[in-house]
Symmetry: C2
Subunit: 449 residues, 2 copies
């Protein structure tokens, strides 16, 4: 009988045929880069396959190829961009869906023979600490892993799948989880899938892993893994505290009760109208949703702004004494920030504390301002301080959001989108949103059950 881990591996390890196919396409692309460079008279360039494809740490079915076009350090930045793109565009003549993209430098992305291919110009610097651009680091990572990973590729595959299944894989700003390189380094450090799982059960924030004992800086991140190729860099800098905690939690749960579900969780069903109604009714709290058109943005810009907006919405509500229980956001064509409140209604009366009676000037100002106001219910002294019970400006969360959301700090692009138009839905009215993926998102309010 196969063990659980063998069963998982069987599903995610590329077959010899799949590997051969990848090897073939990769070799073809590398050769084309060399040939074109020669034809165009561009000297000193070296094409390199990097990333998981080069390291044998890719999961069956993922068809990503990262082809780096490495230039000598003597070349200028402008020349690199110009000649790099010249070669890339020529290579891409046989590809489809070709797109010029920008990170620190421009690069090309294309579909080619069933693969998602990046063609990335970079500098061949002496060491990773002398890089001119973030991409220059990748070849060093590649070398380190190719040197240290042989024999543990399967452990990397299983760990990547475990992280995917538990929602902790991916270092982009939307996820803030573990990158591929970080996962590989953790396997190198702990030796195996099982040993990493076992050790992570007792991880604490502040953990530092410095395999070469060459780290030179103090990092404040929850997990610090010093880059073996660059002593100043924390490879885990993008990992959030919550993703870190979630991984520890998942490792513990898996240790206690291992199952395939950690690797291949069941897809969540969208919540039906009745399920949402039941959820609202049984919790007894109030839900408000801010809905607007999602502007055209890449995820690494959209999601941080949604995050900022969620925080601004919570802060606005709390400023006006609405008590927030939970919140979250979701985006597709529409973006939606959902907030759960103790109550979306507050009484008319609001307690407004003034200065102590003996701070004469302020006290007189406060008394004068409120005693003749028709906003006043009553004024009295409590603990030596004037208190005015006055009329509350906003007695419903909906009203408050409609009147004040546009004055909040919302991030450049979302601020603009909200300024154009947004709506606020309350409780059962949220059922108007039918998008199945949103209905899956709403399961957040039952997660862990």
């Amino acid at each position: 009988m196969m063990t659980l881990e063998e069963q998982v591996l069987e599903r995610i390890k590329p077959s010899p045929a799949e590997k051969e196919k990848l090897q073939e396409v990769a070799s073809e692309l590398l050769a084309r880069v060399s040939t074109i460079a020669r034809i165009k008279g561009i000297d000193g360039i070296i094409p390199k396959l990097v990333g998981s494809a080069a390291r044998n740490t890719w999961i069956s079915g993922t068809h990503d190829l990262d082809v780096f076009i490495s230039f000598p350090e003597s070349v200028s930045r402008e020349e690199l961009e110009e000649n790099g793109l010249l070669i890339a565009r020529e290579v891409a003549r046989n590809g489809t869906n070709v797109e010029e993209r920008y990170a620190e430098h421009p690069y090309l992305n294309m579909h080619y023979k069933g693969f998602d291919v990046d063609l990335v110009p970079c500098f061949a610097v002496e060491s990773a600490s002398e890089i001119k651009s973030a991409v220059d680091r990748t070849p060093f990572h590649n070398e380190f892993i190719k040197m240290s990973i042989p024999g543990r590729e399967d452990d990397v595959l299983m760990m990547k799948q475990f992280m995917k299944g538990t929602g902790t894989y991916g270092s982009e700003l939307r996820t803030q989880g573990f990158s591929g390189y970080l996962t590989e380094l953790l396997i190198v450090h702990y030796g195996s899938f099982r040993n990493l799982i076992r050790n992570a059960c007792t991880w604490k924030p502040g953990l530092v892993i410095d395999m070469l004992e060459h780290g030179t800086l103090r990092h404040e991140d929850p997990l610090v893994v010093i880059d073996p190729t660059d002593p100043k860099r924390n490879v885990a800098a993008a990992l959030s505290l919550n993703r870190f905690a979630q991984f520890i939690d998942a490792c513990r749960a898996y240790s206690d009760n291992p199952s395939e579900e950690f690797f291949f969780p069941k897809a969540k069903e969208p919540m039906s109208d009745d399920e949402i109604k039941d959820m609202l009714h049984s919790r007894g709290s109030s839900f408000v949703a801010v809905v607007f058109e999602t502007p055209e943005l890449v995820d690494d810009i959209l999601y941080p702004q949604l995050d900022k907006m969620e925080n601004s919405v919570r802060a606005l509500l709390e400023d006006y004494e609405f008590q927030v229980l939970n919140s979250g956001y979701w985006a597709n064509e529409q973006s939606i920030v959902v907030v759960e409140l103790i109550s979306s209604k507050l009484p008319s009366v609001k307690k407004h504390r003034g200065p102590p009676v003996w701070v004469t000037d302020h006290a007189k100002g406060f008394k004068t301002k409120y005693s003749n106001s028709n906003e006043l219910f009553s004024m009295y002294i409590e603990d030596g301080v004037y208190v005015a019970d006055i009329k509350r400006k906003f007695t419903t969360a909906k009203e408050l959001l409609q009147e004040r959301l546009q004055t909040c700090s919302l991030g450049k692009h979302l601020g603009k989108a909200v300024l154009e138009s947004f709506t606020v839905l309350e409780n059962n009215v949220i059922l108007e949103i039918k998008d199945p993926d949103f209905r899956v998102f709403m399961r957040k309010w039952e997660q862990g059950k």
Copy 2:
């Protein structure tokens, strides 16, 4: 034309006839004490008239006589109590409503020819710092005021009336305001009614008045007035911060806009059913009232316990996440603690924060406890900490008070009363309480308007 102060004085200053009557009755009582002591063969006692009657600082219509029966220091405590009461009882043979009362020592109270008379045995000690019992201090206060007040009696009268009118007069535990002696000392220190008013406008907590510059201790009270007859004692020790602040506020308001109303405020009308309904409706908050039979207690025991109970009720409600706006208590045959809440209802769901994920033992305990509980709505990680959204135990303030009030710390006598029986009234049901004095108390929620 008479000034405002002259008008006030005319209403509160005893007429020559009223003074003569008081003098006559006082002399008669003092003579009777001497005669009886002689007849009984009790040597060395000196009868003394003390208090405002002796100092000419009593307000017309108040008919209190404090007759002290002073014994030599050589007499034993038992002898003083025995012979003191013997004389007092004999004097009281001509009185009505005679009652034996207890402070530190027993004393007699009676009605006699229209006066409320206390007959109090005490020791004639050498100085106020050598007293054997609190009452021994009174003759010293009497001497100091009789020496220093002549010419300023009218100022004392006006100040006492001002304090009565503004609710700051009286040092008993129910009021925690200014005592008669404290008022007299303040007039001695500031020289006049007007000058005290003017100075009090800029009083701050921490003010120390030490006329003889002989104070020896540090006091933490808001106002410190060192007793001219005892350097260790703060005469204003019973004054609460709120009463102190209220007096400053009243002095400022009077300075800005003097009127007879400060001395003789209009009696407050009981709130009608409609007025209470309107008040509840316009504030939009929730009111709960805890009602029970008032046990037979003197005010100095009842009111501190009501105070304690008010605080316990607030703390109980806040422990269970009900947000308290205001509260108060009232007592007659029934005692009632009234609390105003943001809402007397809370949603079913309650956010329960657990340990950080990395505190392994606690984390496991928390997860095990809640993940299999049918009290659980959802469990998740927030800021690295486990959070369980669980079912709230009490979703209404009424239910909570009914189930848990008897387990609160309520003071000996009220605890017993509440253990026997109490009811909780909510919002409009409070209208069932018809007592006019309670209906006046409810104006607290409009005071200062």
